[in-house]
Symmetry: C2
Subunit: 127 residues, 2 copies
DNA sequence: ATCGTTGCAAATGTTTTGCATGTCA
DNA sequence: TGACATGCAAAACATTTGCAACGAT
């Protein structure tokens, strides 16, 4: 358990939006933490493998990371404006996806579902 | 309407798996077509904007392209082994996603759903 | 002391861009 | 001809890797 490991974990714990490795690294640097970019990538990869962090690809191609609130399989509802993220359980969709895959002759099914929109806070604002 | 434009469109027409720009370019070259990589990217971008081609990000980070069969909003069921792709309409999921977003105070909802699995052909094979 | 972690710098791979050239209409 | 498409080479990114120095236990 190194200082860098702790720093990355701590930053993720207080961030509830999907964030790129580059940005997390920049924030750590700004906060005075001396952490290498490669280490940030390393840690994020490890945390994803450990199931403690979710990752997804942003539109611009970078990988975005966020700590997991739900332990089990879940989906995200994400505000396109401010990045606010709500984690969703969706049993109906799970069943539906598995069933539909099976009906098409597929095994070993998995799926990714992501809902995006503008949250009420951002809709309300003049933003 | 240039020769290159036609070549890219023709290749996409006869390809029904998601394919990277790099690979499409390589195939065009192998087929004797003289097309620049930048032009392939250009064309693919234009076709995506025109709604004639779907794009998604592969696991390794590149963008994959495939001609659209369905004009309207739809989803994909993709074989992780051979890349076989089935286009799906899923009204239940559309409604569900919109409703769930609204219930969380989101407007302007959109979503992405992708189901992956191993198709029967690939399951059957020793592959 | 040992062994995994770190972090720089360089490599990798994809996509974009600048700009001179070619080509369609 | 005149505007736009092309395509090379170089730039711009995100990410990975090699490897020597470092630090936790």
């Amino acid at each position: 358990m190194t200082r860098q490991k702790r720093a990355v974990a701590a930053l993720l714990a207080e961030t509830d939006q999907f964030t790129s490795a580059q940005e997390l690294h920049a924030r750590l640097r700004n906060a005075g933490e001396k952490v290498g970019l490669a280490t940030v990538y390393n840690q994020l990869g490890a945390l994803v493998d450990a199931g403690e962090v979710d990752s997804r690809r942003g539109e611009s191609g970078e990988t975005l990371y966020r700590r997991c609130d739900l332990v089990s399989h879940h989906h995200h509802l994400i505000c396109r404006h401010c990045g606010l993220t709500v984690e969703l359980s969706a049993p109906e969709v799970e069943t539906w996806a598995r069933e539909l895959g099976r009906r098409n002759g597929f095994n070993n099914l998995d799926h990714v579902l992501e809902i995006t929109g503008i949250c009420d806070r951002c809709s309300g604002d003049s933003q």
